[in-house]
Symmetry: C2
DNA sequence: TATCAAAAAGCAACAAGGTTGCAAAAATGA
DNA sequence: TCATTTTTGCAACCTTGTTGCTTTTTGATA
């Protein structure tokens, strides 16, 4: 395969996959790399397009699930029927994702970003309701779109 | 059809459908009625189950889209790939939904509720980011589940 | 580096969710 | 009641996601 060398060279000695106890495979390296390059959130479909015909659809699904389980990526809720995934910046582990950041959806470029801006919304839930986890979705115009073409 | 009388009797003179300039049909009445009874959010699948084999799948999709467009219901983002819909309590119109309420997802009974609790999260977005709309998703235990079985 | 068990990838087939075009049926207004 | 417009139902299709099983690859060991 032509792209293999390229993939390998981009992986440093401190392989995040090994750190999480995962065996290192082409698909995992490639998908992890896509997330690191992107800086935004990716859907399964995005990855399928970017990875070309390199990997089977099922492999991508399973890799995403594995990354989720290991706390490498987290899922971002959306209203358009396509789950988005992004790298976890904090130290998330299996079974506990701890994110207190905002998910920002740009209505112009349609990208979704994680803003590492620890926000605790001022919650006053009605009596009886007990909060465990909070996700703040903000729709608006992102930095790039705001500066590029006003 | 056996259930038709029942549906009609539940519709008062002040038909919300007519108010929004929609023609009144069985499916629209029935689906609107389901939302009013439910008090929680419904997915397309939920409606399909509750409506039985009364309506075609496609009709339900189109009715939901129409209700969305007219500001009768709003979509709630979720992380499990099933868009939820709930009635708009405030006066929403075509092309502008204005909700400042929390969406509460109960991790026990799996229902999603709109808490009409006007919350403005303390947002400090990084420079350049411009917020238009905010959606707060809270996962936790709802009132009923908290009191019923502790 | 050759070997081997365990893990992951690929393949096929399937299920669910969602969309589109078109003909038949129902709702609205005259 | 009639004609026009809107909506429904149907069929067919596409996308997204899942499952079982076989083949390939990985990582550890000799």
């Amino acid at each position: 395969m032509a792209g293999k060398k390229q993939i390998e060279s981009a992986v440093s000695a401190q392989d995040p996959l090994k750190q999480k106890g995962l065996s290192v495979t082409d698909s995992r390296r490639k998908i992890l790399q896509l997330f690191m390059q992107q800086k935004g959130a990716l859907s399964h479909g995005d990855i399928e397009k970017k990875a070309g015909a390199t990997f089977d659809r099922v492999t991508i699904y399973r890799t995403l699930q594995t990354f989720l389980d290991k706390g490498i990526i987290h899922a971002i809720p959306s209203a358009n029927n396509a789950i988005l995934y992004a790298l976890c910046h904090e130290q998330c582990g299996p079974d506990h994702h701890d994110h207190q950041h905002i998910h920002f959806i740009c209505s112009r470029c349609k990208h979704t970003f994680c803003l590492d801006h620890s926000v605790t919304p001022d919650l006053h839930l009605p009596k009886g309701y007990q909060a465990q986890d909070i996700d703040v979705l903000v729709k608006g115009v992102c930095k790039r779109c705001n500066t590029t073409s006003k």
